[in-house]
Symmetry: C2
Subunit: 117 residues, 2 copies
Amino acid sequence: MDVSADACCAPLVSQPLNEAETMELAPLFKALADPVRLRLLSLIASHEGGEACVCDLTVPFDLTAPTISHHLKVLKQAGLIESERRGTWVYYWINPEVLARMSALLGPATALTGSPA
Amino acid sequence: MDVSADACCAPLVSQPLNEAETMELAPLFKALADPVRLRLLSLIASHEGGEACVCDLTVPFDLTAPTISHHLKVLKQAGLIESERRGTWVYYWINPEVLARMSALLGPATALTGSPA
DNA sequence: TCTCTAATTTGACACCCATCTATGCAGCAG
DNA sequence: CTGCTGCATAGATGGGTGTCAAATTAGAGA
C-alpha cells in the first residue's frame, strides 16, 4: 500500500539501485508519466489550502469526469495523493513525503547518509 | 529533441503546471517508469568514470541484449542519457541537467524565484 | 420517499509497450 | 576477404493503458 522507507533517499547517481528498489520506485514514476496526472498533482498541490475538490479538478480539462476520476485513482494508489469525502464533495491533497523522496532520488549526491548500523 | 528550459525549475507544488509544460515533462517520467530503465540509469550514473559500456549493462539483467538496447534508446530519446561509440564498444553516460530539473520539479518550494519584471 | 447533484465504477475499444527471435550493421583479428 | 563479436534494428506477440458512455453509489434537500 505504501512505499516504505527502504527506498528512501540515496540518490540514483550515488549507487546502483537494486531490482527490488526499482520495482518499488517505478510505479511512482509511472503515476507521473501522464500529462493529465502531472497537471492534476500540480493543481492539487498548489491549490489554496493544500487541497482541492474534484469539482475544481474537472474544470481545467477537456476530459470527462470518469477520466479524471481514473487518474486521481492512479495517483492515490501510487501513494502520491490522499482523499476524504466531506459531505457532497471529495477532497484531495498531496503526500509531500513521497514527492520529497522522489526528488531526493533524482537529486545530486548531497551529503550521502549511509544507513546507520 | 531536447527539453528546453521553459519547464525548468518551478516546483510542482508552487504553481499549477500548464498543459504545455506537462506534455514536455510527462515523457521524462515515462522514461523512468520502468524498473529496468531506472536501474540502467542508476548503473550508468554510478559507474566508475561516469560512463558505462553496454557490455557492463547487459550482465546484471535476465534480459536479452535487444531489450537492453531498447531501454537505452528510450532513455536516450528522453534526453536522460547520451552515448558514443568508441571502437568496438558503445558507452553511455547520464545528462545530469535533466535529472536536476526533474528533482527540482518534485522538490519543495525552496527559494521560489518569482519571474523577474 | 423522491429527486437532483457529485463522484466513482463498469465495460468496451483503440492504442501503446516490454519482451522475444531473427536479422543487420560496425569494428577487430586473422 | 572471412570470420567473430558488440550492438542495434525489425517484426511479432501478449499485456497494459487512456478514454468514453452508461450505470452505480453517496449525500443534500424538498
